[in-house]
Amino acid sequence: MPASKNEKGAKAPFSSSLETRPFRSFKKKSRRFFFLLALFIPTFSVIGFLTIYPTVRGFILSFQNYTVFNIRRIRFIGLQNYEKVINSGDFGLILWNTFLWIFFSVLFQMLLGLGLALLMRKPFKGRGIYTGFVFYPWALSGFAIGLIWRWLFDGSFGIINDILIRLGFIETGIGFFSDPTLAMLAVIIVNIWYGIPFFAIMILAALQGIPKDVYESAWMDGANPINSFFKVTLPYIRPVLVNTILLRVIWVMNFPDIIYAMTRGGPAKATEILSVYMINIVFYENNNFSKASAVGVIIISLLMVFTTFYYLISNTKKMEM
């Protein structure tokens, strides 16, 4: 597979397999510089103003003691916030929850998204409308999704329990949110439901890009559908998969909405992931934005470490192929 160097940085699932030639250079260096600058200024001034500066401030905040009670007495307290977070006794649990949440959500989003994309690959009657209908969860807000499913999973008035009872699987309603394992299962199912369309759309696009003749030659070689999937399809969509998975991991890590709306991290912190923990600190610990920022910095650090390893691993595999 051709893998250009800067694909590494391009988180985009859309990085090209097409080499772009160096664009014809300007006659004058300074003109080229100013043209580039003009193109970059809007985006980067916005990012600098709204992302970088606040991030630096947030980083500083994580070493201070900002709570409602200290607003007039803010001072630096070193690593105390980090110590409090890491030594809280629940930190291990929260990390483990975060891992479960990301791993199972992304894994099944990917597998089912892939399945859906394969099914939708060949045109059929009404495919356009079908696409619109099955992809709509993506158009909902995470918060609304959480609420919808909280209603569906309700132990007494929830339709899921009612259906299970009617089908004879269970006798009385299951309290999905009163059991730690079931609660985690429930929020992950919902996240999978939400995330399938994104994967499907990305993979679908990648599938459409596979030239037909590659399959024909595989057929000539006597490949069956399963064979041709592993020998042709998978290698072709691999870059898209690799990039989309990374992107999803980052987003899912920073996606407290569904959990917050469904369980707020309960019962007994069984569904508390790092980003939910952050909100809970803000809402229920005297608006302790400093401690919350420390969790935020931890989130970023973990993602950076993960991304580095992820690319190291996925690149070595690339070379093996």
Binding site: I174, G175, F176, S178, P267, A268, K269, F283, E285, N286
Partner: protein
Amino acid sequence: MKKILFTTVLLCILLSSVLFSSTTLRMIQVFSSPERTKIIENIIDKFEAANPGVTVELISPPYETAVSKVNIMMSNEEPLDIVEVSDWLLSGLVSMGSLENMERYITHSEQAKYWVDGVVEAARTVDDTAYIMPNAIYVKTLFYRPDILEKYNIVGAPRSMGEMMAICQYITNGKDQYGFTYRGIDPVNFMDLVLCSFFDDIDPACMYKTASGKIIFEDSRALEGLKFYLDLYHKTSPKDSISWGFDEQVNSFVSGLTPILIQDPDTTALLNYLLTNGVYKTAPLPVGPGGKVYPTFGFGGWGIPSYSKNKDMAWKFIEFFNLPENAAYFCKQYGALPVDSRIYDQDPYFSSEVFAGWAEMFADPETYQITAYPIDNEVWGEWFRFQGDIQERLLMNRMTPEKALQEFTQFWKDAGI
């Protein structure tokens, strides 16, 4: 020519702004709901009609974010003139230095003379200074459904914790009938209420201490109380009530699934809407083995930000809001207990059957001893979540009651209660 025109226009604008000088009061509520917003807006309309040139802009942030929003707005000195301060918000805002000392207003206010017992103390919870003008009080009581209980030949409401347990257990069939309307999320310290009812010597100023100054969680009676509390869940409540909030509670009560509920007066507004008159009744809180029970005195009120530029006008509005007829309207519609004693006499609603539970409790302060949370303690904001988390562990049998009580004791010892 252009210049002259320009100057004329400018002069006109200046002149008109002097002639029709208008004030806008910005006011924020924290217990927002669409209905409550309408109620307050109706009072605002009346105020605006009585005070031409004054407009009041009501800010109603979504309930769950409201407390944070008030804190953040006040700390950044965002324009605000009237701020609703719930009891839990009070100490934070005071330590921020953002609330105006209201003593000078309150001492001159006619209304303060008619406050019911406990309101003055409530207003002065922090630093013994009034930073708010209370607008309502919230005391829990027992709600029950006579129609459901009658099916099991039970007449009237349980008078004691033991009776309540017996009734709830008796009617629970584990399928479509349960007894107690439990609540696992944001417990709002129902646990404390049960625990304290096993005592007879709670400090009236702080419900986590006995009169002798001991932390209640260290006492063996707390263990009895906690075990009772857990039994109530395990034996008489739906399993998933561990994840219920107020909403699920009320709906379960309304559907009849669980005919016994302990809640704040704001439940009445919702129940009056969802149930026909007389289907539910209230009764005093069940007393514990010591023959007593300790309801807390929750309150909310209006404060004025110390940086407000319209303090006097803000006070004018607050006084207007607390006029008996307006306060009665607010309390009846929203579901709260008025702070003004005149209202209880004037408005028949507050002596109707719906208020039977409260009326009886207030008439017998020896049995129903009002106490208070240590809300002026800085750790109070953290306690809520700390306690809620341990409560969930207890309910799932992931922690023993003994261990839980140790944790509670340690928490309050560290906080220096």
